[in-house]
């Protein structure tokens, strides 16, 4: 689902615009550490559906790199009968997108936060059913079976 409209050459939002847009859309995700032009880290709770847990997450933004999200609590657990978590990077951050899904002209607030909520929802459904029903790459893995 890579967004292939790069020929439009949209202007990338500035660092400050990213930070402002986050405060506008997600006032409850608190801006913690910030080094202007280098790095901003937000922390706060996301609850993907009414029956879901509230997850404390951190989101790190650096210009020119893929935003990085981690779940702080409750700790992510591997489902019984499985060897590891689905869609997780080797360093433990959430693997939200393939290369190309994320573009510099995108706002973290509009794109990444909704992806995190969606990830959390399908993580809970995976625990409940043993199936990852959110699609994605690695369809050969057992959690992608749709039975």
């Amino acid at each position: 689902m890579a967004n292939g409209k790069s020929f439009l050459r949209r202007n990338a939002p500035s660092f400050d615009q990213q930070v402002y847009r986050m405060s506008l859309l997600w006032p409850k995700l608190a801006l913690g550490q910030v080094r202007r032009q280098v790095e901003a880290i937000w922390q706060g709770f996301l609850q993907p559906s009414p029956l879901s847990e509230s997850y404390l997450i951190t989101l790190r933004f650096r210009p020119d790199s893929n935003p990085e999200t981690r779940v702080v609590s409750p700790e992510l657990r591997v489902r019984e009968g499985f060897k590891d978590l689905p869609h997780i990077n080797p360093d433990g951050s959430l693997c939200l997108n393939v290369l190309g899904d994320w573009q510099p002209w995108m706002y973290v607030a509009d794109y990444v936060v909704p992806w995190v909520s969606t990830w959390l929802y399908f993580y809970e459904v995976w625990h409940a059913t043993g199936n990852w029903l959110g699609g994605g790459t690695h369809p050969d893995k057992p959690e992608h079976r749709s039975d």
């Binding site: 559906s49 997108n97 794109y111 936060v113 969606t118 029903l133 790459t137």
Partner: protein, 382 residues
């Protein structure tokens, strides 16, 4: 026909209600199987009325009763065949027969003349059963009208005691349907008070009417799961159906109605000594709960109800879809997983159609006034 709008539930009650509704859909007889059952009983009726049939002169009519009639069928635990109940009503006075046994014999002899029925026929205490493997058991209860009472009251034979028993399946179904409509009546009343003139749309009315039916299905399923190792101690469907219909207070959602019905059941067992009585609303002389004369049977019911109450409250308090799912599975078993999957597919469907939105605190929603969820592809390791 316009395609129905896909909606993802946006509060706890709605999300839980959606899961419970999916469980019921999973358990109830499919429209195809329902049509097949109708075709089967119509064929039986035609056979009884056909030229050369000894019973044709008594104008036999066959009609559904019980869960098939009131829309509360539940797939039996651990087997494929639904039990579907029918009445075969003959128009003659009961005293024109020598004994109740003769009525059963009359129906049996005609069915035995049929090549197929002969091979799948089984005699039960009050009915004749046609066993359609992997489909359903078609239980046919022969009956004749109770002319002394009139209405839809019937006499049915009892093989063991060789006596006539009173029955009124049509009256019972009418009573149950009237209980189903309580919620709808309350809704119309509240609309009238709010001076909203617009009528309730048919779809909404059908869902309102079905709340009690869903509760009955869930209670029957709970019974099947709870008493799977001791089925002889399980309360009968008609007792559960009657208790639920009496306790139902017109709640508009399945979770709220379940909570209210379960609380009433606990109140009943806490305040009945030595046991509770469940009388047939269509015939108050009939004690539907006669099995509870056996103290062990009643204790099993009372203990079961208290456990149901505890587990239901735990399910209501749980957070995390996986934890809610675990609690519900202890009550209703396997269909819970399928229900969670169906809900997840709805969300994924919205996402693929770019209709998924996200509201404050990260709640995914189908409501239009929120931030859209943009396309992405979850990736694996490396």
């Amino acid at each position: 026909m316009a395609t129905a709008k896909i909606v993802f539930p946006d509060d706890r009650n709605a999300q839980l209600g959606d899961i419970l509704r999916q469980i019921c859909e999973e358990l109830q007889i499919s429209p195809t199987a329902y049509d097949q059952a109708v075709a089967r009983y119509t064929a039986v009726c035609n056979w009884l009325e056909a030229d050369g049939s000894v019973v044709a002169i008594f104008n036999p009519t066959i009609y559904p009763q019980g869960s098939m009639k009131i829309g509360t069928t539940v797939k039996p635990f651990g087997r494929d065949e639904y039990d579907l109940d029918f009445v075969c009503e003959f128009r003659f006075a009961v005293n024109s027969l020598q004994s109740p046994f003769h009525l059963l014999k009359l129906l049996e002899s005609r069915l035995r003349e049929h090549e197929v029925y002969r091979s799948i026929l089984e005699m039960k205490n009050r009915c004749l059963r046609l066993n359609y493997a992997n489909e359903f058991h078609l239980d046919i209860l022969p009956a004749c009208p109770d002319f002394s009472v009139g209405d839809s009251c019937l006499f049915v034979p009892d093989r063991k005691t060789l006596t006539w028993k009173h029955s009124n399946p049509k009256g019972y179904a009418a009573w149950f349907e009237s209980r189903c409509e309580i919620g709808l009546k309350l809704l119309m009343e509240s609309r009238r008070l709010m001076e909203k003139a617009e009528p309730i749309p048919p779809q909404e009315a059908a869902e309102e009417k079905a709340v009690l039916k869903r509760v009955v299905q869930l209670l029957k399923r709970w019974r099947d799961v709870r008493f799977q190792r001791e089925p002889k101690l399980a309360p009968i469907s008609m007792v559960l159906t009657t208790l639920a219909a009496q306790a139902y207070g017109g709640e508009h959602t399945v979770p709220a109605a379940m909570t209210s019905v379960i609380s009433s059941l606990v109140y009943l067992v806490d305040h009945s000594n030595p046991r509770a009585y469940v009388l047939n609303p269509a015939n108050p002389k009939e004690d539907l709960s006669e099995r509870w004369d056996d103290a062990a049977q009643y204790r099993a019911f009372a203990d079961g109800v208290r456990e149901l109450h505890k587990r239901w409250n735990e399910a209501l308090a749980a957070t995390g879809i996986q934890n809610v799912s675990n609690q519900l599975e202890q009550l209703f078993g396997e269909p819970v997983k399928s229900a969670i999957k169906k809900q997840a597919r709805t969300l994924q469907d919205l996402r693929e159609k770019s209709l998924l939105r996200i509201a404050s605190v990260g709640l995914l929603t189908s409501a239009p006034a929120a931030v859209p969820v943009r396309p992405n592809t979850f990736h694996g390791k490396r």
